[in-house]
């Protein structure tokens, strides 16, 4: 990227709108905090130092952001090809279940085990997403309806599996944990060994950093973002999918197979959300547990995609922002007794304001018609 391009990027209207929306969200959050009797400046200071204050915090923020970036990419990809993937939640669950099962039942050396887990989870969730694409292509079932249904099916499927003999950890409401060879935590085993313990004690900085379940997941998310960008921009597949997304009649007329495109698009979107689930299991939780409700990774992904203006790179930054707010937000409760739910209000407001520019620009168009050709 040369200088001019960088300049264009930052003076870009969409980028400015996004920035203003984020600011507006923070301001409204501040007003609410004020009404609730808390000092908003102090609350935000706590959040900022709670996110950036120590390497450990940064590390946690990235860990929180990783699955959100991936589900954001999933929704972004579907959206750019004209589909609204509400099903990232369920695809995430299928990815997590598959990763846990393959990670626990198979015994392989790490170098093979990790890719096998990742690939199988991505494929399983991709097929799960593909169901919605197939239903739309074949029977015209709207993907919003079908993916919402598939979310619940996935949730109860996980709960069913968690209670299955041979998978349920005795006495718990979770499954067995994956084999260490399937984990992508950095120094996961070694950290707990005597040698590792001693070594970390003599390196307090690194101890701080590696205390967290720091893992390779973020790298996967970055690679996935690059792949999504590349597919959309530089491949004939991306061309076809975008053409169908913008105008399926013209695409059909131009010889593009519209049904096939829809199925492929939902499959890739599902795969991305499934990768999020796999990364979460392999890097953080190591198992799946009984779910009383949706965990929200998929739904948060919708907000991430929106804040990121439905671009691959945007999803990465929006995911990081989201991770920071979610992780930093938990710190205002112990520090000053302010409810961390405020942060959810802030996030909601940001999304709201992101949606508004579209409205504002529509309104501007309407009223400035007077002075346009």
């Amino acid at each position: 990227m040369n200088k001019r391009k960088i300049y264009n990027f930052f003076s870009n209207k969409v980028f400015l709108f996004t920035l203003i929306s984020i600011l507006a969200g923070l301001i409204i959050g501040a007003v609410i905090l004020l009404f609730a009797g808390f000092n908003p400046l102090r609350a935000y200071a706590i959040i900022i130092s709670g996110v950036l204050g120590r390497f450990k915090y940064i590390s946690y923020t990235i860990i929180k952001a990783t699955p959100l970036i991936l589900t954001g990419l999933s929704i972004t990809f579907a959206f750019r090809t004209g589909l609204f993937n509400i099903g990232a939640e369920g695809q995430f669950i299928i990815g997590a279940i598959t990763a846990t099962a393959v990670g626990y039942f198979l015994h392989l050396p790490a170098i093979i085990h990790i890719p096998v887990v990742i690939i199988s989870a991505t494929i399983a969730a991709g097929l799960w997403g593909g169901i919605a694409g197939f239903l739309k292509a074949k029977f015209g079932v709207h993907e919003v309806i079908s993916t919402i249904m598939l979310n619940w099916i996935a949730l109860y499927f996980q709960n069913y599996l968690v209670y299955m003999d041979g998978f349920q950890k005795p006495g718990g409401e979770t499954s067995y944990s994956i084999q260490p060879t399937a984990s992508i935590k950095l120094f996961g085993e070694w950290k707990l060994s005597d040698a590792g313990f001693a070594w970390f004690n003599s390196n307090p900085f690194l101890r701080d950093l590696f205390k967290t379940p720091v893992n390779f997941g973020f790298l996967f998310a970055i690679v996935a973002a690059v792949i999504v960008w590349y597919i959309l921009k530089h491949t004939t597949l991306g061309y076809k999918l975008r053409a169908v997304g913008f105008n399926k009649n013209a695409a059909e007329y131009g010889g593009i197979n519209v049904s096939k495109s829809m199925i492929i698009s939902m499959t890739i979107a599902g795969g991305l959300a499934g990768l999020a689930g796999a990364v979460q299991v392999m890097g953080v939780t190591h198992n799946v547990s009984l779910l009383a409700a949706m965990e929200g990774f998929g739904f948060d992904g919708i907000a991430v995609a929106l804040i990121g203006n439905c671009t691959a790179i945007g999803s990465v930054f929006a995911g990081l922002l989201f991770g920071a707010l979610k992780y930093g937000g938990t710190k205002i409760q112990p520090a000053m007794g302010a409810p961390s739910e405020i942060i959810n209000i802030v996030i909601g407001t940001i999304v709201f304001f992101i949606a508004i520019p579209r409205m504002i620009s529509l309104l501007i168009k309407r009223f400035s018609k007077k002075d346009r050709l």
Binding site: K240, A243, G255
Partner: protein
Amino acid sequence: MGNKAEARSDDVVIEMKNITKKFGDFVANDNITLSVRKGEVHALLGENGAGKSTLMNILYGLYTPTTGDIFIKGKKSVISNPNDAIQKGIGMVHQHFMLVKPFTVAENIILGMENTNIIGSLKMDHALQTVKEISEQYSLHVDPDEKIRNITVGMQQRVEILKTLYRGAEILILDEPTAVLTPQEIHELMRTLKKLTKEGKSIILISHKLKEIKEAADRCTIIRRGKKIDTVEVSKTSEAQLASKMVGREVTFQVDKEDKKPGEVIFNVEKLVVKDNRQIKKVNQFSLEVKRGEILGLAGIDGNGQSEFIEAITGLRKVESGKVLINGIDITNKTPYEIIESKISNIPQDRQDRGLVLDFTVQENMVLEKHSQRPFANRGILNHEKIRLFAKDLIEKFDVRPTNEDKIAKTLSGGNQQKVIIAREVSNDPDLLIAAQPTRGLDVGAIEFVHESLVKQRDADKAVLLISYELDEIMNVSDRIAVMYEGKIVGILDAKKADIETLGLMMAGGKSDNE
């Protein structure tokens, strides 16, 4: 109607004096003066983008002029918004109707001017009575209780006209009123216009169709590139004169083409049967042959199965029975991709819906069918540089404006959008080029270009199938003319021997004598 043009000048109802309108640096209207007399049809003629609509939007209060004044019945007036315009007796019928589809005709007419009783409920009886009276007075027949979505486009236009009359309009602005109408509906509209002027209304008719201006208008003001060129008495001016004033050079209506002996049959359809979405047979036992080096014109009134026929032969609609062959190869019910591959290209009827991905750039649109082929892609990876060069070349060859391959297609004018499509389709080097209503909504200059492109294709010894609802176009461009009626060919004529009466008769289902 020419005699009315001699009305006294103190009958002037609207005078727009020295109107200039600037958008930034762009001058859309440059010192235009227009005066409209009581009881006349005053046509406003100009190419797309000449500034006709801007001028009328100023009169209707949508824009305010940069400089210049408007006088209504001699009184200087400022029209600040459309409501104001309506109050001052100016009504406008837009090209795209502004009707509430689930509402009835009467509800639409009174919308915004409802009479209510003391508790606020509608006095519908009274409204119905008024609507009835107006529609009888001007013989604008509508069914007040029918819902808008159930009536024809022609009827909807009548509702729009009634709407303005209900609001007491003395001056009616009609923006390209015939663009969406069938020939019969156009005929009906012309009768209505006569009736309206007889009752003392004045009409401003925005159009770029010379024939209808000749038919309906008393006087005509010609605008070119924002400037007023002239105001003429229509009865004393020929179509050719009007056209040359509009485009600024001589225009030939006759398409230049040399005699050419057609070659062997390249495309044929045998006993084709195609159903529409409601499962009604729209194409019924239809057979047709197109030869190398000829343009076959398919004439007919809209709705006689033309759309279904094109969709079927391009793979967009299922063929129930019968055969479609190109170069002797059966392509019945093949996919659109396979049909394009077998060297059939199509300039689609609806350029915005089928022809272009409007949100794509011009260069992306240029390779819609070819994006997966070398040199534009290799192993699934696009070669942006090759696509750009290809698009640049076509933009230059086909004179697409602006000359920028990165422009988003929807920002181009209709004529330039059509050029993009033609460039793309001709660059496929097809054996058969199907052109469905290729000049719809285009101005004279662009129409000439389209026709030349079709003739070039024929002269290169390729086959062209032209489908059009405009008889003039069919007669000017084609070598042979086939007439379609209710899903069948009623006859095929040599274009040189065809006359408009015979064709008109055949389009209505009659048989030709000189078949």
